[in-house]
Structure formats: C-alpha cells, structure tokens
Amino acid sequence: MSRILKDPRLLLLIAIVAAVITGLGADQMNLYYRGVIIDIGIAIILAVSLNLINGHTGQFSLGHAGFMSVGAYVAAMITLAAQKSMGAEVLAWMFLPALLVGGLVAALAGLLVGIPSLRLRGDYLAIVTLGFGEIIRVIFQNVEAAGGASGLSGIPRMTGLTWTFILAAIAVYVVGCLVNSTYGRGFIAVHDDEVAASSMGLNPTRYKVTAFVIGAFFAGIAGGLFAHHKTTINPQVFDFMKSFEVVVMVILGGMGRTGGVILAAIILTLAPEFLRAVAEYRMIIYALLIIFLMIARPQGLFHFGRKRKPLTH
C-alpha cells in the first residue's frame, strides 16, 4: 500500500479514474453541490500553481488573478467563436483545446512579466506582480472585443466534474513531481538562499521564470474552467481580491506544502458557503483566522511530519 502511495504516476492514474467515475454520476447530483465541488477543483488548481511560485520558489506574487483572467478570456473567446460558426458536436471537442490555448497564452503572459520583473526580489516583486494584475484587468475593461466592463456572457457551460478534477490532478502531479525532481531541487534552493544557489552554479532567474511560466499556465487553465463554469466573466471578477484569496490559501496551507495547500483550498472554498447565514461577518472571520494563524502557526496550518524528504536517488 505504502509503495503504491509513493508512486506519483499511479496516484495520478487513480485520481483520473476517480474523476471519471464521479463524473458519470454527476448528472444526478444536486446542481448546487456540483457547482461548489467544481469551485473547489478550480481553487485547488489555482492554489497548487501559485504554491509553485510563492511556496516552493519563495517569490511573492500577487498577480495570479491576472494570469487566470488571461486564460479565462482567451478560452471563452475561442468557444464563443466556435459556438457561432460550428455545430454543438464540434463545440464539445473545442473545450479542451480552448483551455490549453488559454493556458498557453497565460504562460506567455507569465514569461513576459517574468523576464523583466523576476530580477527583483521580495517586496519589489510583489508590487510589480500586483501592478501587472491590475494592468491586465484594465486592458480587458477597455477592449471592446472582450466585452468592456460588462465582460463576456453566454459562454457555453462546459466545465464538468470530470475535466475539472482530471486537470486538478494533473496540476498537482506536475507541480509535485517537478519540485521533487533533481532539477526541481533548484526551486527550493532559490527559495532557501538565492546567493548560495547562484554560487553553486544555479541560475536563479531561470528557475524563477520557469516557476512563473508553469504557475501562469495552470492559472490560465483554471481561468478557462472558471469561465465555462460560471458562463459570465467580467474584469471585476479578477481583481486584487481574487489574487489575495489564492495567496491566503497558500499561506494557510503552509508555503510549499502541496497537501496542506489542497486542504486549504477546499476549506476556504467551503467556508463561505457554510458561512452564508452570517455573511456580514464572513470577511471578519476570514481575517481573524489569518491573523490568528500567523501568530500561532507561522509555518502553516497543515504541518505534517518532516519538512522535506531527502532525495531517494
């Protein structure tokens, strides 16, 4: 059993099979619960991908909603165009390519922002990424093709449980394997001490840009899923608060701890649904939770066992 659990490829396979099986029964499922579970899947992709940047590589990015919006808009524009020109059968096949293109364009945006700005560190990088997120939002707000301030609506509802969780499983697998690979130790080296890492012959900027591009790619995928889940998107959805929510998930889960970050994504998506009755106090509870956590457990809520396993090969 423990050997099965140690093989990430088997775990990925199990996760995908589980996603397909639950997807089969999704039609009978209560729409509300299904919607919230899809929200959780999207949150997991966002949190895990930001965890690569903020957690493993130790760069403080506040622009995740910006990458998400790029993926959301690109994917939505593709399926909207396909809906107009092609039939429903073709449209179903367009979903995954649209998501991938959205992810790739987001990754390109990650590269464009990453190359100049990742030479900065800490607070400066946070400010640059924050500014970047706002720039993307304002661009979408003023581009008529993207619907301006009211955004895009009437996007086909194509995000299902199956695809959301297959993609979430892939995101977790890719980030997990990358960080635990020989190459990936470089991310952690950059996180721990940039000067030491570069004196050992690692190129910190290259590692940071790689983390940014991969993180942005999955954020774009999550954006595409979000657009086809909610069926309307507008620039206000992807504001600073959205980035902040993901950052909180990463901090709450414990920077660089994939399992913890997934749990935090689940809890922080479910919490507001449970807290509907006390909606006015939701943000207060949220803020208190974070303050308490930072004082009591600066290493993150879900701190299981040793910090990092030694490399086995």
Binding site: Y32, T232, F274, L301
Partner: protein, 399 residues
C-alpha cells in the same frame, strides 16, 4: 495560596496554548465550527404548505444601498400578499441570499435556491452583471426569473424565462435627450461618462444619438474611472467648451464629488443624469452643490397615485424611511410574480413563465406597464430635481 495560584496560572496557560496550537486540534475546531454552522443553517426548510420564492440581492458590499432597498420592497410586498391570504391558498416564503456585490457568488446562490431549496421563481438583482450571471442558470432549470432593476438590454436576451419590471438603458438615454431638448431647452451639451461602467456608456451612447438627431450639439465627450476622486481636469475642459448643460450618467458616489468640484471651479450650468444618481448619499455628500440639478428615474415617492401613496405609507411604517425607486421596483417585481402565479393557477415553470409573459397593463407602484415580446417593461420615466436637499418630482416622460 496566593503563591500557588500564581505559579499555576502560567503553566495552565502554556499547556492550553500548546494544545490549541496543535494542528490536529486546530483542524478539528475549524471543521467542528463549520459543520456546526452548517447544521444550524441547514434546517430551515419549510413545510409543503408554502410557495418558495428565491431572491438574490447585494445586501452587503459596494451596491449595498440599492440591494437593500429592492430587498425591502420585495419583503414588504410578500408580507402584504401573505396577510391578504397568500396565493393559491398558500403562503409565500421568501428565501433571500446575499451575494456581497461580488461576481461569482450569484451562480452558486441561484443554484442553491433552485436545486436545494426548490424555489418556483427567482427575483433578483439590481446590478446587470450579476443578473447576467444568474440568468443562464434559471433559464436552464426553466425557473422564471424577474429582475427588479437590471437595465442592461443583454439581461433578458439570455432566454425566454428572464423578465424585468424596469425600463432599459437605451430608453433612459433617449428620455434624457428629450428632456434636455424640450424642458431644459439646451442646444450644446457636454457628456462626462464613467469608462468603467457599461451602464454609463450605454446611457451616453443613446443620449448622444437622440440629442444629435434633434439638432443638438455635443460640445465635448470626456470620461473618468468610477471611484476617481479628482475630476477637475475634465471639468475645466468642459468649462472651456462652454456648453449649456452637462450630462453625467454615473453613480451617486462619483456624481456627488463631480458636483462639488464643478461648483468649486465655477461651472454653474445644469447637470443631469440617470437613475444611478438616486441615493440619499448623494444629498448628504454633495449638499448645496447638487441643488437644482436633474436626473431620470423609475418613479417618485411624491407621485399622488393611490398605489404610490399606500406603498409609501406602508414602507414608512415598516422601515421608518422614505422608499426610493429600487424599493418600488422590488415591490412591483414581487406583485408581478404573485399575480402571475394566481393567473397560472400553478407554480410549474413553463406555465408560470407564460403567465408572467402575459402581464399586461399591470398597475404597479412605478406606473402602469406591460411586458413586451422582449420581456422588458414598457413604462414611463420620471424626472426628479434636487430642491432644498430633497428629490422633487418634476415631470413624467412617456415611452
């Protein structure tokens, strides 16, 4: 004894902190409190003797004042209907959910209302962007949805289950152009738009169309970004072009600051705008600066029709304040629904939809109106002027 207790307190405290800080206990506490709240909120299901109607509104957040007003109007209407015996021999149960003025929330809420609570119809949202998010869900589930005050044309275009009891942006823009020509008798107007808001841009567009068609001249077109604080650059440019009046189709928070700054730079010509102006907040913030200016809206509490006077009295008795247009629209949306349920004789989605679509010459608080084939209300607009720190009714402009 004293010594003993003194030495024990810190030890107990330290142990407590250790226990609290253990991850397992933190997790446990989080989950326990979450499920506690869930079980508290989960058991408010009604019996079979009520008709459930769902409402989603922005009760907190940016558009709180609008959302609260429309919610109060709706609540009041159902209270009256229930007092008069309900519909089809049953009481109406209103389930209200707050969406915090946040995108992404309405989808979850409407899903919850329809599939978990089993509502027969949805009432909701003032803001068009959030109605647009909820509408496809209602349409797919074949549950009729009536928006009290979403004026963007796209909302009802989502499908044949989506209705509204207010007029749409093009109409309001046209009305203000007619008002500028016929009542203000101005020839040269400057337009100041909120570039962030489609509502503002829509109004400006249709105003310009109608105004220039009637040989009016637009002296300058400028924009700002909603929640800007300084408008002096734009206002100085406007002043330089010497127009007869300025059309500002924005929201009250910005309009208040614009009015103050216009006064400061000595721009003393009429300002006029749309229903985004209507808030007590405008009067409080702008004070004297907003005196004498005009805006169009859905109705006026000074209207002397019997419907309006009884509504104002009932609203004042319940909430101890004068209702605004959003409250009146929320009230009307509830009555349109209740009447349709009566006429349909059932709460089945398709039949209820047909009954709502057949609404004709409905005597509402906001005037007499019918729903057209696009499921929009055809009704007149009211022009109000700010006088002595109050909204004064000026005239009605028919469609």
């Amino acid at each position: 004894m004293l010594l003993h207790s003194e030495s024990r307190v810190p030890r107990i405290r330290n142990n407590l902190i250790l226990i609290i800080m253990k991850p397992e206990s933190l997790l446990l506490v989080t989950f326990a409190s979450l499920f506690g709240i869930l079980s508290l909120t989960g058991c408010k299901s009604g019996d079979g003797n009520t008709i459930k109607v769902g409402e989603f509104a922005s009760l907190t957040g940016k558009e709180k004042t609008f959302g609260m007003s429309s919610h109060e109007g709706t609540e009041l209407a159902f209270e009256e209907i229930n007092k008069a015996g309900g519909v089809l021999g049953k009481q109406i149960e209103l389930l209200t959910e707050d969406n915090q003025s946040k995108a992404g929330e309405p989808a979850n809420i409407v899903n919850k209302l329809i599939s978990r609570d089993g509502v027969v119809a949805i009432l909701g949202e003032v803001a068009s962007s959030r109605s647009l998010e909820a509408a496809p869900i209602a349409q797919e589930a074949k549950i009729p949805m009536i928006s009290p005050a979403s004026t963007n044309p796209k909302v009802t275009e989502v499908g044949d289950y989506i209705f509204r009891v207010c007029f749409i942006d093009p109409f309001q823009g046209t009305v203000m152009a007619n008002f500028a020509i016929n009542t203000l008798k101005v020839k040269k107007v400057a337009i100041l738009t909120d570039a962030k808001s489609d509502y503002s841009k829509g109004l400006a567009k249709y105003f310009k169309e109608q105004f220039t068609k009637n040989s009016g001249v637009i002296s300058s077109e400028l924009d700002y970004n909603g929640s800007d604080k300084d408008f002096k650059a734009q206002l100085t440019t406007i002043k330089g072009a010497a127009p007869d009046a300025v059309f500002i189709p924005g929201y009250y928070t910005d309009v208040a600051l614009i009015a103050i700054q216009a006064q400061e730079i000595g721009l003393s010509i009429p300002l006029f705008g749309g229903d985004g102006w209507e808030s007590e907040n405008l009067l409080q913030v702008a004070g004297k600066a907003i005196e004498g200016h005009y805006f169009s809206t859905h109705c006026s509490p000074e209207d002397t029709s019997s419907k309006m006077t009884s509504f104002v009295a009932a609203y004042k008795a319940k909430y101890n304040k004068t209702p605004d247009a959003m409250a009146a629209l929320g009230y009307d949306s509830a009555y349109v629904l209740a009447e349709a349920i009566k006429r349909a004789g059932t709460t089945e989605g398709p039949k209820l939809r047909d009954a709502i679509a057949a609404t004709k010459d409905f005597e509402g608080v906001t005037g007499k109106f019918s729903l057209n084939e696009k499921r929009d209300a055809v009704k007149s607009a009211a022009i109000l002027q700010i006088k002595d720190g109050k909204f004064k009714f000026l005239e009605t402009i028919a469609p």
